[in-house]
Point group: C2
């Protein structure tokens, strides 16, 4: 049986995973609003971001309450502090989904991105879904290899981000407004990925005590 401290910590971990599922929904719906020019869906994503923010505050309150009641030290203390940092990153992912929805809303019922940019945006959104799913799984499992995999998935996001700029700078025919939208949207999806990586880095640090690829750390330990 888990002691009271670890039961509370499990609860915080579960709430963080819940946050990632809310963020996954927000990103999916924001992208749908964007690609379909659907103002109603965009509005609903913007409104629902409050729920993510509220859950983040609840997690932080739980964490502070846990620190006050249980006075953890060493690794236990680090886990609580890390949970607070994670809630901050995941909340920010939700904000970025809201930003995407705002670009969709501004253009609706027209489309914010021209046809030849849609496949790249759709792919960025798909990578974003993989990232937020992997983030929830890594928080749940505390598996450093799952966490490191997040960095590899994010490499695909960075490549797509570069592809957007190549597309923009290579004889763009859709005018400045569509160009500004594509620039901002690409930045939002890319930052979404960065925050997933930040959560992953925290998991790696928590489990291994160092930043970066745990294999490098493990091989150093083996010699």
């Amino acid at each position: 049986m888990r002691d009271a401290f670890h039961e509370d910590l499990d609860k915080i971990s579960d709430q963080l995973v819940t946050m990632t599922t809310m963020v996954a929904t927000a990103l999916e719906r924001a992208t749908a609003a964007l690609l379909e020019g659907d103002r109603t869906v965009a509005e609903s994503v913007i409104a629902a971001d409050d729920d993510i923010d509220t859950l983040r505050r609840e997690i932080d309150d739980l964490a502070v309450d846990l620190l006050a009641r249980q006075q953890p030290v060493a690794t236990d203390l680090r886990m609580v502090v890390t949970a607070m940092h994670m809630s901050s990153d995941i909340e920010r992912m939700g904000d970025l989904a809201r930003h995407i929805a705002k670009v969709a809303r501004m253009a609706a019922p027209n489309l914010a991105v021209p046809d030849d940019m849609r496949p790249i945006i759709a792919e960025m959104a798909a990578v974003g879904q993989r990232l937020v799913k992997a983030t929830g799984d890594a928080i749940s499992s505390k598996d450093v290899y799952a966490a490191v995999e997040i960095g590899r998935i994010d490499d695909a996001m960075d490549e797509l981000h570069k592809k957007v700029f190549t597309t923009l700078l290579d004889n763009w025919q859709h005018g400045m407004e569509a160009g500004v939208n594509a620039t901002l949207l690409s930045r939002y999806y890319e930052r979404f990925g960065d925050h997933a990586v930040a959560v992953a880095d925290r998991i790696v640090y928590l489990v291994t005590g160092r930043y970066g690829n745990p294999d490098e750390g493990l091989s150093r330990d083996a010699h």
Copy 2:
């Protein structure tokens, strides 16, 4: 004489203020690199960001160490947790200065922004300086009114951000690359301001126990 806990907390607060002065320098130099097309200055800003990141880790370690040794509760605990959140926001302000320097480096020795955009960027940088200075002062003084003033200064940043988009969408003659640069730079300065506001909001919450304008809170309290 201060007790050990408050001496340690003062030290953390001093380090946070030091971070804001490092960030102020980074923003000033990044903007100079941008407006003068100076690659060397841009490189130095990018390299110096490591020092800000290192100081942030030191502050977080100090905070965790303080939690472990002193086991604070109630307001004392909140203050330590708040300091960790602030270090995160101020580090991010440093990252944004680095992003600005990267745009400068990419274009150097040419200029990343055309002549008619320079005054707006220079003004955003000046507002950014006021914001980071006010952030350091508010951390030092824990004065909620100083913190609220940060929100007012940031309104000027938001206006400039809108002005950039108006300029971009109103018969822009400088091509897509300059347009992409202006879009990203404006976003970086605007986000810089948002993080200053986030620090300010934390100070207001710490002192008053509620978010938002303390006058509204105070007037509610008076009735």
